[in-house]
Structures are given as C-alpha cells and as structure tokens.
Amino acid sequence: MIDFSLSRLWAILAKEMVQMRRDRITFAMMLGVPIMQLLLFGYAINTDPKRLPAAIVAVSQDRYTRAVVTALETTGYFRFEAQPSSLAEADLLIESGAVAFVVTLPADFGTRVERGDHPEILIEADATDPAAASGAIGTLGTVAQRALTREQGQEAEVEARQDKMLSVVVHRRYNPEGISQYNIVPGLLGVILQMTLVMMTGMALTRETERGTMENLLAMPATPMEIMLGKILPFLGVGGVQVVVVLTAAKILFGLPFLGSLTLLISAVLTFVLSLVLMGYFISTFARTQMQAMQLTFFFFLPSLMLSGFMFPFAGMPDWAQAIGECFPLTHFLRIVRAVMLKGAEMPAIAWEMAMLAVFILAYGGIALARFRRTLD
C-alpha cells in the first residue's frame, strides 16, 4: 500500500510557500541573484571587445605593409602599441599580457605581394580569453585582403576574388578550442540555477532540524515522500521563474539566438531544475546544520563549475576529469542548452543527455528518500 495523501502534500507545500514568502531576504535573493549575475557577467564578459592592445612586427616599411597596418587599426579591433624589433621581444609582450596580439609581416612583404607570391601574415593571439580574440581574428583576413587590393588599384580586385593575395595564419595560444561567447550566457543560466536552487533546497530539512520543528513534523503523519515533494516543488516553481527571467533578459540584453524549439528548451530546463532541487534535498539529508548544508553545496559547486565545460572546454580535459564531469547535471544541461539554443537541436540529438538528467533525478530522489530519517535517532 502506498501511503500518499494530497492533503498532506498540500499541507507541507502551502507551509513552505508561506515561509518562503515571509523570508524576504531569501526571496529577494532567489530573484535578485539571477538578474544581478546575468547583468554582471553578461556585460563584464564583453562579447566583442574592441581596441585590444597589439604589437606589430614589420621589418620593411613598404606601402603594402603600411596599408595593412592602417586598415587593421581602422577596424577598431587592434590598437598597435608596440613595434618590437624581434620575435623574442614580441613573445615577451604577449606572454606578460601587455598585448593580446602580435601581428607579424614578413620582411619582404611588399615585394612578395607585387610578385603575387601569397605572403603570410602571422597573427599570434592570446586566446586565454578566447572570446576576446575571436572577433579580432575573424576580421583580420578580409581587412588585410581589402587593404592590399585597394592599394594595387581597382583592376586587381576582380583577380583577387579568385586568387587571394595573401594568407593569414592564426596561432591561438593557450586555449586552442576557443569557446564562443554565446556559450557563456546559456551556461550562465545553468550555473545561476544551480547556485541558488541547490543551496536553498539544501537547507530544506536542516532548517527544520535547527529550529526544532523537525520533531513536531515527524510526530505528525507525513510520509517521507510527501515531505520531499512538499519541500522541493516550491523551488521547482522558483526555478521556473528564474529561467523565464534569465532567458528573457538574455534575449533582450544580449540578443542571444534562440534556434531550437522553446518547448523543448523549457522541458529540458525544468528537468534540470528538478535534478537540482533533488540534489539540494539529497544534500540536506546529509547535513545536520544549515552551515554544513552550505559547505556541502560549495564543495560540490566549484568542481561542477570547472569540470562541466562551463569554464573550460570539456573535450580538452583528461579522461578522468571528463568522467567526473559526467557526474554533474550541469555538464549535461550545458550540452542540452547549447545544442537547443545555439544549434537548433531536436529531441533525438539531446535524448541521451535528457536521459542522464532523468538518472540524476531518480538517483538523488531515491537516495534522499532512503536516507530520510523518520525518527530522531
């Protein structure tokens, strides 16, 4: 016989919602934190930074070289601050972070252009912050090309269409994968949800224990399932509101593309939110105090941030780190949300990740229920 009563579930649910509403600070935090973080990170992580410091290594001072340099400067991406005379000097500049790019033109650049010899422009980018480098790198090829054609006169332009006059070699240093900035806002959604929801639900049970109300609650006929659902469902609602807030803001403020189906996105996000609140509840069955719940949350938070692919490209991590990364709902959520939002993926493409989230839900929920102490022992 399954002992489940909607009336008892509603008792706990209603009580939790009233308590949530009365706890002004928590309530404000749940809605304020996502907006604040989105604004802070969204704007701080500038998607297309301009006027980045650069160095140019150009030995010859022929007119083609000057044309390319001027053209690069007028794009607004580059601000040439140094003209190191040797590659070693240039290396030092980029290593110390004094410049973000080093553009190197060969000594015989002009001669080779005139010979139609396809000279190479080498651009070394400090890609530790890949988002910063990508815009500048993207423009470089076309800008330099256009500068040269202009310099050689109109008649050469037709020819140039088929036959490029130069090639640009890009060396991204320190971070070869180069995540695009659009990766960040969807990822931020996952991180914001994780941070607020896990911590809040992590305190769901410990708060009762600390305030001494647990004894009373346990003395009354509520089942572990009713208590769990009663405690997590309000947070599921809170998560839903956070999602709407973050996505709306992301759309309006950052013009984030929404390629996939909104229904699919919403159902994926809600699945993720459910796994988060259950994780929080799971934590609260371990913690004896709210402080411990908080510590456990943080213990979990940092690795999930580092190993989920939010901070560093997942594929670039060693196997063991990837294995750990697979254990965080955030990892799977990031794949889903990027696939759906940015690539317009459909259900079949994300089915595996959704299944993984479902596994988390069952595991956290199951263990939490099994661990729930019906007594004060």
Partner: protein, 314 residues
C-alpha cells in the same frame, strides 16, 4: 486494554544508556505524571513511546499498536507536545493550525481550525505570527494544535516550564477536562504540585524507573520517616544533619523537617538530641518532595559508587 503498555524500554546514545529498562502501563482516562531530574531520560522515553526514537531493547503496545513496528499508526492517534515550542514561528497561529489540520486530513478543515481558535480565544489574533506569542500563549497554542485531531493519547513534555502559576493552573484544569472526556495523558514535569494533580506518577532517575503509583503509594513505598520540630534554633541544623539515621534536614518557615530512611535509628538519634537540648520532635507527614530528594541523593550515591568502582578497576 491499557493505552500504553511498554516493557523494558532501553535507549543508548553511543555507549551511554540514557533510558534503562523502563516499563510503564497507563490506563484509559488516566493522567500519569512523569517526574525526574533534568537529563534523567523523560524526553527520550516519551519519544520512544510515540515512535520518534527506536528503542534499542524493549517491547510493548501503544493504543494497541506495536511500539516497534506500527509507529505510523501510533503517530496518527497520539498528540505529542514537545518540550521546546516546535511549531513554526514564522507562520501565523491560523497558518500553523491549518498546517496541522491538513496533515491530519481533518475535514472540514475550516471548522476544526475556527473551533480551535475560538476555544483558545484567539480568533481576533489568528493572523499573529506564532513567534511573537508569549510563553504561556505558545504553550496554549501548542496544546490546542496537539489535540485538534482528537488523539486518544496525549504526551506532554514539560508543558508548563516557564509558565506563570495562573496559566499553569488553567492548563491543568484543561488537562483534567480532557481526561474526563476519555483522553489519556502522560505528562512530564518538574513541579511537585503538578505531580499531585496526576492520578499516578512515575519517577525516573538516570534512566531508571525508581517508583510508580499514586502519590500516596510512592510516598509510602519510599519508607521514609519524617519528624518536625517547632522553633528549633538554626544552629541545630548542621548538628542534626550529622546524626546517624538522618538523611535530610530542611527548614520550612519556623519548622524544621528531619527525614530518614531508618525509623528506629532516627527515633533514637532525635530522642538523644531532645534529652540534650530540649527541642521536641513530633512525627510529621513525609511529602513527595522529601521522597524525590531522597531518590536523587540515593541515585547520586549509586553513581558515585559506580564511578568509584570504575576507577578502582585497573
């Protein structure tokens, strides 16, 4: 059938035995007092009876249900008022009652809640946060919430601690009213006057049940003799305390109570003192308090003895 019939209840926390082989029976409609010093295991015993703690040993029934296996059934039919106020201080009185009514699936809920608020006289303050109530009111609200689902057994854990005498009196009047209506009550307390308002009492010390029965039975069973002296000079107190057979000497106003366990020895000692000082002693009535103090000092002796034995072991 007894409402509570438990035998040999034992609870250990780590290697400390906090409740040791406690047996208890309570009949329907009885008010049973549960007495003992702080930390003697009253709360732990009550929690085992209502299924909040699993006994390490022992067995029995509560309301006919197995105390080890049927704790869910027991919880439905028991009202338990915790020692510390454990309703939600950030909910209003009404919200707390609503919560309880929904958990027990009382229907129609409004009727139950309104009736309870009305009987508390709190209808006009229903929207007040429970945390802002005074101690006496908190205790009344907690009691009302515990009996809203019309339990068959009421467990009260030091319900009147820190409550003023008038509120205590009213509280006990209410308990008696409830018991007259057939409710069975187990109530732990520190107060002697409250013990005397119980039909029967159980006395527990260091986890062991030392006495049970009516107040008169417990007093008689203690086998204490009490003598009273009028207008004895205060400096005599210390001397009397040192006499053979005297275990307690306590001034009560202008009289001096002398208590001892061995009537013959005590009579002889006091007779010698009367012969010497002229202070006359007459037989007095042993009070429940005398008995409890006797229990406590005896238990301490036992503990000291046990500790000494433990130390003596290499």
């Amino acid at each position: 059938m007894s409402v509570v019939a438990v035998e040999g209840l034992t609870k250990r926390f780590g290697d400390r035995t906090v409740v040791d082989d406690v047996s208890m029976t309570i009949e329907k409609g009885e008010i049973v007092g549960f007495l003992g010093p702080n930390g003697s295991g009253k709360t732990t015993t009550i929690r085992m009876i209502c299924g909040l703690l699993t006994p390490d040993a022992g067995s029995g029934t509560v309301l006919g249900f197995d105390v080890l296996k049927d704790s869910r059934e027991i919880k439905r039919r028991v009202g338990y008022m915790t020692q510390k106020f454990s309703f939600y201080e950030d909910l209003t009185i009404e919200e707390n009652l609503d919560f309880v009514a929904r958990l027990y699936e009382l229907s129609p809920r409004r009727l139950y809640v309104d009736r309870t608020l009305d009987s508390l006289g709190l209808t006009s303050r229903r929207a007040q946060l429970a945390g802002t109530l005074s101690g006496g009111w908190k205790q009344r609200v907690a009691l009302a919430a515990c009996i809203m689902h019309e339990p068959d057994l009421l467990l009260l854990d030091e319900p009147t601690a820190g409550v003023d005498p008038k509120a205590r009196r009213e509280f006990w009047d209410e308990i008696h009213l409830l018991a007259a209506g057939g409710l069975t009550v187990l109530v732990s307390t520190h107060y002697m006057d409250e013990a005397e308002r119980c039909h029967r009492i159980n006395y527990i010390s260091y986890g062991r049940l030392l006495a049970c029965g009516t107040v008169d039975e417990v007093v008689a069973g203690a086998g204490l003799a009490t003598f009273v002296a009028r207008d004895a000079p205060p400096e005599l107190v210390a001397r009397i305390a040192g006499l053979p057979g005297v275990s307690q000497v306590a001034p009560f106003g202008t009289t001096l109570h002398v208590v001892g366990a061995d009537l013959g020895l005590l009579t002889a000692s006091l007779a010698a003192l009367t012969a010497e000082t002229g202070v006359a002693f007459t037989r007095g009535e042993t009070s429940l308090e005398d008995v409890f103090i006797q229990f406590m000092s005896r238990a301490e002796d036992n503990m000291d003895g046990a500790a000494a034995k433990a130390r003596a072991k290499p």
